[in-house]
Protein backbone atom coordinates (compact mmCIF):
# COMPACT_ATOMS: atom_id res chain seq x y z
CA UNK A 1 0.00 0.00 0.00
CA UNK A 2 1.36 3.41 -0.74
CA UNK A 3 0.34 7.03 -1.12
CA UNK A 4 -0.11 7.73 -4.84
CA UNK A 5 -1.36 11.25 -4.97
CA UNK A 6 -2.35 14.20 -2.81
CA UNK A 7 -4.62 16.97 -4.09
CA UNK A 8 -5.06 20.21 -2.21
CA UNK A 9 -7.40 23.07 -2.93
CA UNK A 10 -8.09 26.00 -0.65
CA UNK A 11 -6.06 24.28 2.08
CA UNK A 12 -3.90 26.76 4.01
CA UNK A 13 -1.43 28.37 1.55
CA UNK A 14 -2.65 26.28 -1.43
CA UNK A 15 -5.63 28.17 -2.92
CA UNK A 16 -5.14 26.72 -6.39
CA UNK A 17 -5.81 23.05 -7.07
CA UNK A 18 -2.43 21.40 -6.53
CA UNK A 19 -1.65 17.77 -7.33
CA UNK A 20 1.39 16.03 -5.85
CA UNK A 21 2.20 12.57 -7.19
CA UNK A 22 4.19 10.33 -4.92
CA UNK A 23 6.19 7.27 -5.84
CA UNK A 24 7.45 4.44 -3.72
CA UNK A 25 10.74 5.08 -1.95
CA UNK A 26 11.83 8.40 -0.50
CA UNK A 27 10.33 11.71 -1.55
CA UNK A 28 11.91 14.91 -0.24
CA UNK A 29 9.88 18.12 0.04
CA UNK A 30 12.07 21.19 0.03
CA UNK A 31 11.71 24.97 -0.19
CA UNK A 32 12.27 28.26 1.67
CA UNK A 33 10.93 29.10 5.11
CA UNK A 34 7.20 29.71 5.05
CA UNK A 35 6.73 28.34 1.53
CA UNK A 36 4.17 25.69 2.53
CA UNK A 37 6.06 22.42 3.19
CA UNK A 38 4.60 21.75 6.65
CA UNK A 39 1.20 22.71 5.31
CA UNK A 40 1.50 19.56 3.18
CA UNK A 41 2.18 17.52 6.34
CA UNK A 42 -0.90 19.18 7.87
CA UNK A 43 -2.96 18.32 4.77
CA UNK A 44 -2.05 14.63 5.12
CA UNK A 45 -3.04 14.64 8.79
CA UNK A 46 -6.23 16.53 8.02
CA UNK A 47 -7.51 14.27 5.26
CA UNK A 48 -6.92 11.28 7.57
CA UNK A 49 -9.37 12.87 10.00
CA UNK A 50 -7.23 14.94 12.39
CA UNK A 51 -9.55 16.56 14.93
CA UNK A 52 -7.08 18.53 17.03
CA UNK A 53 -6.69 22.15 15.83
CA UNK A 54 -3.58 22.40 18.00
CA UNK A 55 -1.91 19.59 16.02
CA UNK A 56 -2.79 21.51 12.85
CA UNK A 57 -1.21 24.67 14.35
CA UNK A 58 -4.47 26.58 14.34
CA UNK A 59 -6.85 27.97 16.93
CA UNK A 60 -10.04 26.86 15.16
CA UNK A 61 -10.67 24.35 12.37
CA UNK A 62 -11.60 27.17 9.99
CA UNK A 63 -7.91 28.19 10.05
CA UNK A 64 -7.14 25.49 7.49
CA UNK A 65 -9.14 27.30 4.80
CA UNK A 66 -7.10 29.64 2.60
CA UNK A 67 -7.53 33.02 4.26
CA UNK A 68 -6.39 35.16 1.36
CA UNK A 69 -3.31 37.32 0.92
CA UNK A 70 -2.86 41.05 0.51
CA UNK A 71 -3.67 40.58 -3.16
CA UNK A 72 -6.06 37.63 -3.30
CA UNK A 73 -9.32 36.98 -1.56
CA UNK A 74 -10.05 34.22 0.90
CA UNK A 75 -11.67 30.99 -0.27
CA UNK A 76 -14.92 29.57 0.98
CA UNK A 77 -13.76 26.00 1.51
CA UNK A 78 -10.76 23.71 1.84
CA UNK A 79 -10.49 20.29 0.25
CA UNK A 80 -7.83 17.61 0.37
CA UNK A 81 -7.95 14.26 -1.45
CA UNK A 82 -5.53 11.40 -0.87
CA UNK A 83 -5.32 8.60 -3.44
CA UNK A 84 -3.89 5.32 -2.20
CA UNK A 85 -2.69 2.30 -4.12
CA UNK A 86 -4.17 -0.69 -2.32
CA UNK A 87 -3.04 -3.45 -4.67
CA UNK A 88 -1.61 -5.41 -1.73
CA UNK A 89 -4.97 -5.28 0.02
CA UNK A 90 -3.52 -3.77 3.18
CA UNK A 91 -6.58 -1.60 3.66
CA UNK A 92 -9.68 -3.71 4.42
CA UNK A 93 -11.54 -2.41 1.37
CA UNK A 94 -12.35 -4.18 -1.92
CA UNK A 95 -10.72 -1.65 -4.20
CA UNK A 96 -7.12 -1.63 -5.49
CA UNK A 97 -7.18 2.16 -5.54
CA UNK A 98 -8.86 4.23 -2.84
CA UNK A 99 -9.45 7.95 -2.67
CA UNK A 100 -10.23 9.66 0.63
CA UNK A 101 -11.42 13.26 0.64
CA UNK A 102 -12.25 15.82 3.27
CA UNK A 103 -13.90 19.13 2.66
CA UNK A 104 -14.63 22.00 5.06
CA UNK A 105 -16.74 25.08 4.33
CA UNK A 106 -16.46 28.38 6.21
CA UNK A 107 -19.97 27.76 7.50
CA UNK A 108 -18.50 24.84 9.42
CA UNK A 109 -20.18 22.25 7.21
CA UNK A 110 -17.82 19.46 6.45
CA UNK A 111 -17.76 16.23 4.46
CA UNK A 112 -15.73 13.05 4.25
CA UNK A 113 -15.75 10.89 1.13
CA UNK A 114 -14.30 7.48 0.33
CA UNK A 115 -14.16 6.84 -3.41
CA UNK A 116 -16.37 9.86 -3.98
CA UNK A 117 -19.11 8.48 -1.73
CA UNK A 118 -20.02 10.56 1.29
CA UNK A 119 -19.21 8.77 4.55
CA UNK A 120 -18.55 9.57 8.20
CA UNK A 121 -15.27 10.48 9.91
CA UNK A 122 -15.60 7.17 11.71
CA UNK A 123 -15.44 5.27 8.40
CA UNK A 124 -12.17 6.98 7.45
CA UNK A 125 -10.65 6.28 10.88
CA UNK A 126 -11.80 2.66 10.83
CA UNK A 127 -10.32 2.08 7.39
CA UNK A 128 -6.84 3.16 8.49
CA UNK A 129 -7.04 1.71 11.99
CA UNK A 130 -4.80 -1.33 11.59
CA UNK A 131 -2.09 0.54 9.75
CA UNK A 132 -1.60 2.93 12.67
CA UNK A 133 -1.14 5.83 10.25
CA UNK A 134 -1.67 9.23 11.79
CA UNK A 135 -2.91 7.95 15.11
CA UNK A 136 0.21 6.51 16.62
CA UNK A 137 2.58 9.46 16.70
CA UNK A 138 5.18 7.48 14.78
CA UNK A 139 4.04 7.45 11.18
CA UNK A 140 3.62 11.23 10.99
CA UNK A 141 6.11 13.36 12.95
CA UNK A 142 5.51 17.13 12.83
CA UNK A 143 8.19 19.82 12.78
CA UNK A 144 9.78 20.33 16.17
CA UNK A 145 8.14 17.22 17.60
CA UNK A 146 10.87 14.61 17.28
CA UNK A 147 12.28 15.29 20.77
CA UNK A 148 8.86 14.44 22.20
CA UNK A 149 9.45 10.83 21.20
CA UNK A 150 11.96 10.78 24.08
CA UNK A 151 10.13 12.85 26.60
CA UNK A 152 6.66 11.49 25.97
CA UNK A 153 4.91 10.92 29.21
CA UNK A 154 5.12 7.24 29.80
CA UNK A 155 1.38 6.77 29.22
CA UNK A 156 1.69 8.18 25.67
CA UNK A 157 4.65 5.94 25.01
CA UNK A 158 2.81 2.94 26.34
CA UNK A 159 -0.14 3.72 24.08
CA UNK A 160 2.17 3.74 21.07
CA UNK A 161 3.83 0.50 22.10
CA UNK A 162 0.45 -1.12 22.57
CA UNK A 163 -0.62 -0.02 19.12
CA UNK A 164 2.67 -1.21 17.64
CA UNK A 165 2.20 -4.47 19.48
Amino acid sequence: MYLKKLELQGFKSFPEKTVIEFHEGVTAIVGPNGSGKSNITDAIRWVLGEQSVKTLRGSKMEDVIFTGTQSRRAMGFAEVTMVIDNTDGRLPVEYSEISVSRRLYRSGDSEYLINKTVCRLKDVQTMFMDTGIGRDGYSIVSQGKVDEILSHKSEDRRKVFEEAS
Partner: protein
Protein backbone atom coordinates in the same frame (compact mmCIF):
# COMPACT_ATOMS: atom_id res chain seq x y z
CA UNK B 1 -2.63 -9.43 26.26
CA UNK B 2 0.16 -9.10 28.77
CA UNK B 3 2.11 -11.87 27.07
CA UNK B 4 1.83 -10.17 23.68
CA UNK B 5 2.89 -6.84 25.14
CA UNK B 6 6.01 -8.37 26.68
CA UNK B 7 6.92 -10.16 23.46
CA UNK B 8 6.61 -7.02 21.39
CA UNK B 9 8.35 -4.95 24.04
CA UNK B 10 11.36 -7.25 23.80
CA UNK B 11 11.40 -7.06 20.02
CA UNK B 12 11.28 -3.25 20.06
CA UNK B 13 14.05 -3.25 22.67
CA UNK B 14 16.24 -5.47 20.51
CA UNK B 15 15.55 -3.31 17.48
CA UNK B 16 16.34 -0.18 19.46
CA UNK B 17 19.72 -1.50 20.60
CA UNK B 18 20.56 -2.46 17.06
CA UNK B 19 19.43 0.74 15.32
CA UNK B 20 21.07 2.93 17.98
CA UNK B 21 24.40 1.14 17.58
CA UNK B 22 24.17 1.51 13.83
CA UNK B 23 23.32 5.22 13.86
CA UNK B 24 25.87 6.06 16.57
CA UNK B 25 28.57 3.72 15.34
CA UNK B 26 28.48 1.89 18.66
CA UNK B 27 27.15 2.60 22.13
CA UNK B 28 24.18 1.14 23.95
CA UNK B 29 20.50 1.98 24.39
CA UNK B 30 17.48 0.31 25.91
CA UNK B 31 13.86 0.76 26.78
CA UNK B 32 13.18 -0.41 30.30
CA UNK B 33 10.00 -1.35 32.12
CA UNK B 34 9.70 0.61 35.33
CA UNK B 35 8.13 -2.28 37.19
CA UNK B 36 8.49 -5.84 35.97
CA UNK B 37 5.57 -6.87 38.20
CA UNK B 38 3.13 -4.43 36.63
CA UNK B 39 4.02 -4.39 32.95
CA UNK B 40 0.64 -3.19 31.77
CA UNK B 41 0.75 0.00 33.85
CA UNK B 42 4.29 0.90 34.79
CA UNK B 43 6.54 3.54 33.24
CA UNK B 44 8.56 2.82 30.12
CA UNK B 45 11.94 4.54 30.42
CA UNK B 46 14.60 5.15 27.82
CA UNK B 47 18.32 4.94 28.53
CA UNK B 48 21.01 5.81 26.00
CA UNK B 49 24.81 5.77 26.08
CA UNK B 50 26.74 7.05 23.05
CA UNK B 51 29.93 5.09 22.26
CA UNK B 52 32.78 5.63 24.69
CA UNK B 53 30.69 7.76 27.05
CA UNK B 54 29.41 6.84 30.46
CA UNK B 55 25.75 6.17 31.05
CA UNK B 56 24.09 9.34 32.29
CA UNK B 57 20.71 10.98 32.55
CA UNK B 58 19.26 11.44 29.05
CA UNK B 59 18.89 15.18 29.75
CA UNK B 60 22.67 15.57 29.56
CA UNK B 61 22.82 14.31 25.99
CA UNK B 62 23.40 16.94 23.35
CA UNK B 63 20.62 18.19 21.07
CA UNK B 64 21.93 16.09 18.21
CA UNK B 65 22.41 12.98 20.36
CA UNK B 66 18.82 13.22 21.62
CA UNK B 67 17.60 13.67 18.06
CA UNK B 68 19.48 10.61 16.82
CA UNK B 69 18.23 8.57 19.81
CA UNK B 70 14.64 9.58 19.03
CA UNK B 71 15.18 8.57 15.41
CA UNK B 72 16.55 5.21 16.56
CA UNK B 73 13.43 4.58 18.66
CA UNK B 74 11.20 5.61 15.77
CA UNK B 75 12.88 3.10 13.49
CA UNK B 76 12.88 0.41 16.17
CA UNK B 77 9.09 0.66 16.24
CA UNK B 78 8.79 0.87 12.44
CA UNK B 79 10.87 -2.30 12.16
CA UNK B 80 8.31 -4.25 14.18
CA UNK B 81 5.37 -2.67 12.47
CA UNK B 82 6.16 -0.85 9.23
CA UNK B 83 3.75 1.94 8.47
CA UNK B 84 2.72 1.95 4.77
CA UNK B 85 3.89 5.54 4.55
CA UNK B 86 5.76 7.78 6.91
CA UNK B 87 5.74 11.60 6.88
CA UNK B 88 8.69 13.15 8.72
CA UNK B 89 8.86 16.95 8.93
CA UNK B 90 12.42 18.20 9.48
CA UNK B 91 13.06 15.56 12.16
CA UNK B 92 16.79 15.64 11.44
CA UNK B 93 17.20 19.41 12.00
CA UNK B 94 19.54 18.99 14.99
CA UNK B 95 21.96 16.59 13.27
CA UNK B 96 25.38 17.65 11.99
CA UNK B 97 26.36 16.86 8.40
CA UNK B 98 28.01 13.54 9.22
CA UNK B 99 24.95 12.28 11.10
CA UNK B 100 22.65 13.51 8.33
CA UNK B 101 24.45 11.18 5.95
CA UNK B 102 24.03 8.24 8.34
CA UNK B 103 20.35 9.08 8.68
CA UNK B 104 19.90 9.23 4.90
CA UNK B 105 21.68 5.91 4.38
CA UNK B 106 19.76 4.32 7.20
CA UNK B 107 16.38 5.30 5.82
CA UNK B 108 17.19 3.51 2.57
CA UNK B 109 17.08 0.21 4.53
CA UNK B 110 13.38 0.71 5.12
CA UNK B 111 12.20 1.77 1.68
CA UNK B 112 11.09 -1.74 0.75
CA UNK B 113 8.62 -1.73 3.63
CA UNK B 114 7.54 1.90 3.86
CA UNK B 115 7.23 4.92 1.63
CA UNK B 116 8.89 8.01 3.12
CA UNK B 117 7.94 11.63 2.69
CA UNK B 118 10.60 13.85 4.24
CA UNK B 119 10.26 17.60 4.57
CA UNK B 120 13.80 18.88 4.79
CA UNK B 121 16.28 21.75 4.42
CA UNK B 122 19.34 19.50 4.47
CA UNK B 123 21.34 18.55 1.38
CA UNK B 124 22.28 15.16 2.82
CA UNK B 125 18.64 14.17 3.16
CA UNK B 126 17.85 15.39 -0.35
CA UNK B 127 20.64 13.19 -1.66
CA UNK B 128 18.99 10.15 -0.10
CA UNK B 129 15.72 10.87 -1.89
CA UNK B 130 14.42 9.23 -5.08
CA UNK B 131 12.31 12.25 -5.87
CA UNK B 132 12.34 15.88 -4.81
CA UNK B 133 9.44 18.31 -4.86
CA UNK B 134 10.13 21.99 -4.39
CA UNK B 135 7.55 24.23 -2.75
CA UNK B 136 7.74 27.86 -3.79
CA UNK B 137 5.88 31.05 -3.00
CA UNK B 138 6.67 33.11 -6.10
CA UNK B 139 3.40 34.92 -5.56
CA UNK B 140 3.45 35.93 -1.94
CA UNK B 141 1.32 33.79 0.31
CA UNK B 142 0.51 31.31 -2.50
CA UNK B 143 2.26 27.93 -2.51
CA UNK B 144 3.02 26.04 -5.66
CA UNK B 145 4.81 22.78 -6.29
CA UNK B 146 7.55 21.98 -8.80
CA UNK B 147 8.92 18.50 -9.28
CA UNK B 148 12.68 18.89 -9.17
CA UNK B 149 14.44 15.61 -9.71
CA UNK B 150 13.68 11.99 -10.40
CA UNK B 151 16.37 9.39 -9.92
CA UNK B 152 15.96 5.73 -10.81
Amino acid sequence: MKKQFITHFRVINENFKEVFAELFGGGMAEIVLGDEQDVLNCNIDIIAQPPGKKLQNMLLLSGGERCLTAIALLFAILKLRPSPFCVLDEIEAALDDANIIRFGEYIRNYTSRSQFILVTHRKGTMEAADMIYGVTMQERGISRILSMKLTD
